[in-house]
Amino acid sequence: MSEQPHRLMEIKNLKKSFPLQTGFLGTGGTETVIAVDDVSFYIESGETLGLVGESGSGKTTIGRSILRAIEPTSGSVHFEPREGEAYEVTGLSNREMKAVRPHMQMIFQDPYSSLNPRMTVRDIIAEPLVVNKLLKGTDIDKRVLEVALRCKLNVEHLRRFPHAFSGGQRQRIGIARALVMHPRFIVCDEAVSALDVSVQAEILNLLGDLQEEFELTYLFIAHDLSAVEYISDRVAVLYLGRIVEIAPSKELFFSPLHPYTSALMSAIPAPDPDSPMQPIILKGEIPSPINPPSGCHFHPRCQFVQTECKTMRPELKEYKPGHYSACHFSDVMELPGASELGESSSIRTSKIRSSN
């Protein structure tokens, strides 16, 4: 890495709620779904921050709010693509956003719906350059080809339409589109979830290689814990719109401080069928974000619940260096992590690497 890591992105008190109209003609009044509830975190330049959580926990909403693909309800996003160049992304008008867009891009979950079926691959990849008027004429083609080759597409592919490609190839087209402006920051929104496991590995490795080459910073959103563990430097765990724990990847997986993280980690199946699995089975379902539980959102399902959990919202506090947790009792509890995963996952990931 050529430059000193700095805080590329700092998200403070991000909130996003969606109004829900009920009743005939919307006369039943409005309820709000709080998808993202007062979330703060930062991302260092050059790192990969994993964001995990169940479906409906607000992962995608956070990713899209940061890029202003949807408008956050409140909160601020401070973005510093280079040292000395900083933006308050949330306060910018659409026109001012034009200056920021080239620095931050997105890779989508569904490689089928994220490519316009009526545009050639060349046009799809070139679109960010064209709309931002970054390059002209043959320079566009040169850049498109360069990025496409880097994403292991070849020249003939550029003339084709997306329907000619498999899921993995389409995802590489999506990556090439995200990469073509040479951004600093990419949100990978479940970028590998829709792919076969073998293709997943291929895409994960491609993302890793590109990160080194282009000094990229990723926000890697996923629900697949082993993929997250493989690619992320740090991981944030989301529960019902709130971050419950952020820690360096290994630490989060092996010594979690939050009971929810601990339960998640215990549920990772070990690749060895003989290994004894002792998952912590949580009671009930993830509660509805329309009417979330009081205090700590996790308290109705927590096996260590105390009275104050029901009334007081726990703040995200730093318990160990770089290890934040939002639990009143993080300092007194000893929680099990994903001990099995340690050995076998490193074997597995090394296999992925070598097979590629």
Partner: protein, 386 residues
């Protein structure tokens, strides 16, 4: 990532490329319209229907050239006369040039019916590029050349009406009028629908809500009384041209809501597609998103819709003119022509006055079959994903 693994990857890719046939490559890089056309080609019925419609359209467009007479030329000796046959031989023998016999109609003094009398001694030879009534060709230059005609007397392929006007010529002129009303009506409805539906779909929120309620109000008004009310509002002294344009306007104004709803629905469903979000994240503005991503995604549906709504326009015009509220003589349209075929007397004595109805039926059927074919071919990506 090791260097060797890169080279194997590249090798396997090029091997696959080599294996891919010419045809597959052609398919992969075909545009939407090429794919639609390739699939449409296999739909023989629709292809045939399309040809029929093109021929009909051309007939209407070049009516004044193709028809032997103008729409108002009267053959006073042949009132309400039946169609004449084109012959190559008669008692006198064979002729290379097709001809018809001279005919007249006379009132039968006992039945008081007009009866056609064929004079087998008179041969009227058909000649091509004959001189006849003068007209302006496509409004460009004055000429009197018609595709065919007879030197002396008249030739009535579809017979004549009670004023002795040639029904064949009038049907061709009517085809032009009715089809152009359909086209202009559809275009007006389409422009309104595109604008109203587009605004509702893209803006969303209360704008969408208001527009939708307004559309519903328009939709619940029964169509026939509405047509009647609007048509009755035409001043009597309006010229044929003014009535004609007013008709297209009425048809357009009544026809937009369904189409507008469909466009709104399409835009609404596509607005949050990932590739539209991707374009927004890339920095594309509203005009580019609408023009490049939203509209192309459903142009095929729009075309299908237009093709299918076309016969309704034609039928509405025909129906309105038939009940006397649409175009009025001297304008000629299918509806106006069929107006003459309203009475029992006509059905009994002059069934050839129904010939324009065959055109209406054929046109509507052809549009329906064509619409069917276009719809099947319209979404080339529906089956080829993966």
């Amino acid at each position: 990532m090791s260097a060797s693994s890169i080279s194997t990857e590249n090798m396997s890719t090029s091997a696959v490329t080599a294996k891919e046939s010419e045809e597959a490559l052609r398919y992969y890089s075909a545009t939407q319209w090429q794919l639609i056309w390739w699939r449409f080609r296999h739909h023989k019925a629709a292809l045939f229907a399309g040809t029929v419609l093109v021929v009909m359209g051309l007939c209407g467009l070049f009516a004044s050239f193709l028809s032997p007479y103008s729409a108002v030329n009267r053959d006073k000796n042949y009132l309400l006369g039946p169609p004449q046959m084109i012959q190559f031989w008669d008692q006198k023998g064979f002729s290379l040039r097709p001809f018809t016999h001279g005919v007249t109609t006379k009132r039968n003094p006992t039945t008081l019916r007009r009866e056609a009398k064929v004079d087998p001694d008179v041969r009227r030879y058909i000649e091509f590029f004959a001189h006849g009534d003068s007209y302006r060709f496509l409004g460009l230059f004055k000429t009197d050349i018609h595709l065919f005609g007879v030197e002396e007397g008249y030739l009535h392929l579809f017979g004549t009406d009670d004023l002795g006007r040639d029904l064949f010529s009038r049907t061709l002129f009517g085809t032009g009028t009715s089809m152009s009303i359909g086209i202009i009506g559809v275009v007006i409805a389409f422009i309104l629908a595109l604008f109203i539906g587009g605004v509702a779909g893209y803006a969303g929120g209360w704008i969408d809500y208001t527009i939708q309620r307004f559309t519903e109000i328009i939709r619940v008004i029964p169509v026939i009384p509405l047509y009647m009310g609007l048509a009755a509002a035409f001043p009597k002294e309006w010229t044929t041209m003014q009535v004609y344009f007013a008709m297209t306007l009425i048809l357009g104004l009544v026809g937009w809501p369904t189409l507008a709803r469909r466009i709104r629905g399409q835009i609404l469903s596509l607005r949050d597609e990932d590739y539209v979000v991707a374009a927004r994240v890339a920095g594309a503005g509203a005009p580019r998103i609408i023009g490049r991503h939203l509209l192309p995604a459903f142009t095929s549906y729009i075309i299908v819709d237009l093709v299918i709504s076309f016969p309704y326009m034609v039928l509405s015009e025909t129906a309105l003119s038939f009940i006397g509220l649409g175009l009025r003589p001297p304008a000629v349209s299918w509806g106006v022509l069929l107006q003459a075929a309203q009475s029992i007397r006509t059905i009994q004595h002059a069934p050839w006055l129904f010939i324009p109805a065959i055109f209406v039926v054929v046109a509507v059927l052809a549009f329906t079959v064509l619409g069917d074919g276009v719809r099947d071919a319209a979404d080339p990506y529906s089956v080829s994903e993966g």
